[in-house]
Structures are given as C-alpha cells and as structure tokens.
Amino acid sequence: MKNFLLELLNNEALVYVLMALVPLIWVIPFALFGVWWERKISAHMQDRLGPMLTGGWHGWSQTIADAVKLLQKEDLVPAAADKKLFVLAPYIVFAGSYAAYAAIPFSAAFVGAEINLGLFYVISISSLVVVGLILAGWASNSKWSLFGAMRSAAQIVSYEVPVALSILAVVMVVGTFDLQEINQLQTGPVWHWLVFQKFPFLFLACVIYFLASLAEVNRTPFDLPESESELVAGYHTEYSGMRFALMYLAEYANMFAVSAIVVTLFFGGWNSPFGEFLSGPWWGLFWFLGKGLAVIFVQIWLRWTLPRLRVDQLTYIGWKVLIPFSFAIILGVGAWVLAAGQ
C-alpha cells in the first residue's frame, strides 16, 4: 500500500501522514460500534434489550448521540487540579494505545510501519498508556482518582511481565519479531495457526496472554483501576466531556489492539481459516477484523459474567500464577525447539 501511495502522490511525507491516519478509519468507528455492541451484548445477557430507540434499528446510533452530547459538554477542569497535566493525560493515554496500531498488520497489503521489531515495539509503546493513567489520577487531585491511578500502575506493571513472557514463547517458535512475517508463517489451513503449534505450550501461552491482556486494558475481572462500586470511576472520575470521550476511545482502541495481538500471534492474523480459499488483501482485512471482534466478544462476555478480584488477589494471580506458568511454557517450548533442532 505504501508503494502504491508513493506512486500516486509522489510525496513521501504526505504518504506517511496518510498511512498514520489509516488505522483511525477503523479505530473511531470501532469505538462507536464497540460501545453499542457491548451494551447490546450485556443487555441480552441480562434479559434486557439495551438501547432500542435512537436511530431506529436496535438503537444503532446511540453511541453517536452520546459522542455528540459529550462534544457539546462544558470544558471542565476541577479547580484544584493540575491543569496542564490534567489536559495532557487523555492525549497520552490515547497516543499510547493508538501508536500500537502502527505495527499491527491489518492485511497482507497493509501495515502502518514495517518494522522488523514490530512485536517488541507494540509491547513497549502500549506501556505509555500507564503513564497517562497515572497522570490523569494524579492531576485530578482527587483521592479516588489517585487510588485508581496507583492501582492501574501496580496492575499494568505486574501484568506486563506475563504478557512479555508469553509472547517470548511465540517468538522462540517463530524466530522473528516481525508481525507481518509471523502472519506469513501461519498461512494455510487452521492447524497452521500458532495456537495449535507445540501443543499444549502455545495454547497455554495464548490463555496466559489473553488473561494478562485483560488486566492491561482494565477489563473485568481486572477492572480495579476504575471499579465503579469502589472508586466511582477511578482515574477518570474527574473527567467529563470530550476528555472523557477520549479516555473511552483509548480504552476501546486498546481493547482492539490487544485483541489484534492475540489474533496475529495465535490465530493466524489475516490468514483465511480455509487455506487459499477466500484469501487476498481484502479478505485478509475481513478475517483480521472478524477474528479481532471475536476476541473482543470474549472480553465482553467475561466482563458481564465475572465479579472483580481484590487487589491482593490480582497481584497474587499475576506474580504467583501467571508468571511461573509462563516460565514453564518458555522452558517447555525451548526444550522442544532444541530437540527438534530448529
């Protein structure tokens, strides 16, 4: 796609700007759709209907109406807040989650930036989000927000470790950090997907990555930073209007980013599950987004089923359950790879 645009526009800077904007075409509609989708799923799980009126068919435009409402809201900064940091925080949060999209291969023909350390880049850049969350909690000058910020720091830092370790197991098998290359290695029928390789090690790595990524994006049962029955809304209690909307957008962007990593690393990325059948750049996009949405469905499903963990239980699971298991997987995979002489 980059070469095509270069030929078309003959201006490298413009092409890079365009390439950077392409994921936004997906992220913003996805956030709008995702909120609506989550409402509908939760409603149907709970014997309700959810939004039904706005826009006609099943309240499809409810979140658009909500976003418009948020845009019109007064620009509110608490008097005691640290104004600069308070304003800056939502942008850092969103920048952190959006930057991850640069290295995510949407299709065989499109990836924002072809870096050979793509996976490494995604893991590192998404850590920027936690800086934004701490800033938001600290700058709000509210005890509740501070609690949320401290929780998110403890949580995300603890869960980065199992995330990195479970990804390491995959890297040991494929021998590359390049996400596009990892996708190409999985081309073919379903059993070529990495989740079925070196069974059961990579399957377990997938489970660990998924659980830890739930904690990374603050979803139930790890939604402690914003637990509404304890901390009201945690780090974004004091945010309103467009800044709140930006926080929300970042949350959904982050949700899709981790789902995209799950899909790319374990479920064949943009590959068709039927081998050559229904494959190609556009079908690749379809499979990638479809699989991503399926993973998000599981996230939503868990959210509306499970209660929340306590802080000490959360760190217990992170350090004493997930990390030892990830090490065991790394050992197992390492031994297997050595034995196979790859």
Partner: protein, 354 residues
C-alpha cells in the same frame, strides 16, 4: 471537612515499612465515602482510614435515612393511619413491616383475624422476604463487580411485584395489611399465579448459585472476610440473616411462632463456614439464598392450604389510642403501660419489635 475528620487525620502517624527504616515510609489517608458514593446509595457515610489498599479504620456516620417516623406516628389520629408510615421504614420489604405492626396491634387490641387473612399475610410476608433478599444479594454482587446477577435478581423481583400489584395496586408501598384484616381480598387467579411463581423461581435460585454464589472469584472475595462470631453476634443483639449467618439457629418464626408459622414445614438456614470461617460474608450471603428457598416452600404450602373466607370481617370499626379520654392531637402510639403490647416478628433483615 468537619472537625472530627481532621482530628482523625491528626491522630495518624506516618508508619515505616519494617526493614526499610525511615527511608520509605507510608502515610495513612482519610477518605470520605458516601453518601453520594455509588455503593452507599445516599444513606450512609464512612470515613475510611486507608493505608494504601488496606483499610485501617472505618468510622461510620449514620442517620442519613432517619425520617422521624416514630414522631409522625405519634401524631396520627388513630392506629390505622400508621400503616403507610411503617411501609416506608424499609421500602424494599414493606409487607413485612406492615405484618409486624398489625400483629402487635392485634395482640394489643385482642383481635382474632380470620384464617384466610393469616394465610394471605404469610404469603405476602414471605414474598416480601424474597424481594428483600433478592435486592440484598443482587446489590452485594454489584458491589463486588458482578453486574449480571443483579439484573437477574431484579428480573425475578418484578414477578413478585406483579403479584403485589395485582393484589393491592401498588408495587412498592402497599398499605395492604390492615389491623384485623386486609385492604383487598386477593384476585381469583392469585393462587395459580403464586404456585406458578414458585415453579418459576426455584431454577432461578440454582442459576444464581451457578453464576455468583459458587463463583471462584466471589468465594475468594467473601469467604473468611468480615467474620462475626456467633457469641459476639448474640451479645450485640444482632438478629435475622446476619445472626443466622454467624451459625446461630435462631428464627423467630420457629422459636417463638407468631401468626400461623407453626403450621408450615421449613428449615432454618444457618452459616456453617462451608467456604471459610463460620460467620463470614459468604455465610451471611448464603443464608439469604437458602432463606429464599425456604420462603418458596412456605409460600407453596400456604397457597395450597389457602382457605376461603372474608378478609375484612375482623377489622374494628373504631380504633383510638385513648378511647376513654378526649380526642387530643397528641395521641401516642407508644402504648401506655396498661395496654403494653410487644409483637416480635421475623423480618428479612432482622427481627422487628413493635
């Protein structure tokens, strides 16, 4: 910030983490939770002293729900007028409140109510217990982060409220039980609807257990937490599911039966420390779940035995707190010594003495 809160803050000294000396010290922080906090529902404020994530101390500030009903009741012209007030004492279980009040009044006025009235009252009071427990369980799950069980509880509660509505026209505050009778007789379809509900509700309790009660996360968060030992509970005068959750088998419906509770076959659920210690949060929660099962049993038995008859024949024509004296504005509901009456009834959240 009020004066007491600052005093609390002043009293707290920075603490040091053992082994790290004074280089790294933590400080306790006081946060005010409620009354506008989502889990305190506008009725409670807690000053919480926290050391990081550990709650070091809690100072409850109560009184947000006190509406001086006893004073209102003293000014009522007759005893019947008090019933709408007892409804509002706890709007989640209004029928049980009415039951407690009318039982005490009937004892004082020596009124024998018809059989049919007794049966309908028991059915209504047990329905009220189910409704109250559903809200207790649902919001308990909600505070732990489980949304769906709460809405399942509300769904089941709606079915009970439908039966209430059909009977007396109100869904929350009924004014249904009158001294000596009931405001309306039940509809002809009442019995079928009640039995249908019992059939509908039993699998839903199982669903609730699968979804919440035996959920690993839920057990982890509630078992061995907030233990109230049985002897402490008795000494502090705790009653109801909280007392039974502490392993004390005391239920006024069994131990000192009023109305017609001695005619029904039911068990007293009590905390056994199944998942942790006796008297922990999980036990208190589970007692409520089991009590709903027992209430369904009582309702089923009562509905099957429901006799025919008039529900208003025993309602006294004139009730005055001081029939012999002149009518004054200031009648008192707190009975004079010669008419002292003390009715104790079982109530979803504890015993009621009126």
């Amino acid at each position: 910030m009020d004066a007491t809160l600052t005093e609390v803050e002043k009293g707290r000294r920075p603490t040091t983490i053992p082994g790290l000396g004074r280089a790294l010290r933590t400080e306790e922080m006081v946060i005010s939770m409620g009354p506008q906090h989502p889990s305190t529902h506008g009725v409670l404020r807690l000053d919480i002293v926290v050391d990081g994530e550990i709650v070091a101390d809690v100072i409850p500030r109560i009184g947000y729900l006190h509406r001086c009903f006893e004073k209102h009741c003293e000014h009522m012209a007759n005893y019947q007028q008090v019933i709408p007030y007892v409804d509002r004492l706890d709007y989640v279980a209004a029928m049980s409140n009415e039951f407690g009040y009318v039982v005490a009044m009937e004892k004082m006025l020596k009124i024998q109510v018809p059989e049919r009235v007794e049966y309908i009252r028991v059915i209504m009071a047990e329905f009220s217990r189910i409704v109250s427990h559903l809200i207790a369980i649902g919001t308990y799950g909600l505070d732990i982060g489980a949304w769906t069980p709460f809405l399942y509880c509300m769904r089941d509660r709606e079915h009970v409220l439908d039966i209430f509505e059909e009977t007396c026209g109100a869904r929350l505050l009924y004014n249904y039980m009158w001294i000596g009778g009931l405001s309306h007789d039940v509809k002809p379809t009442f019995k079928d609807k009640v039995l249908e509900f019992c059939k509908y509700f039993r699998p839903n309790i199982k669903e609730l257990n699968d979804l919440l009660s035996y959920n690993k996360i839920f057990i982890d968060r509630t078992a061995s937490v907030g233990v109230l030992p049985g002897d402490v509970a008795v000494n502090f005068g705790v009653s109801g599911p909280v007392l039974r959750g502490s392993g004390v088998q005391w239920d006024i419906r069994k131990n000192d039966p009023y109305s017609i509770y001695n005619r029904f076959d039911f068990d007293i659920p009590f905390g056994k420390g199944e998942k942790g210690k006796v008297g922990d949060c999980w036990d208190r929660y589970m007692v409520r779940v089991h009590e709903m099962e027992q209430s369904v049993n009582i309702i089923e038995q009562a509905a099957k035995q429901l006799p025919e008859g008039d529900v208003q024949s025993a309602i006294p024509k004139r009730i005055s707190p001081n029939a012999s004296g002149p009518r004054r504005v200031r009648y008192t509901c707190a009975p004079r010594p010669r008419r002292a009456s003390w009715g104790t009834t079982s109530y979803p959240t504890g015993e009621v003495d009126r």
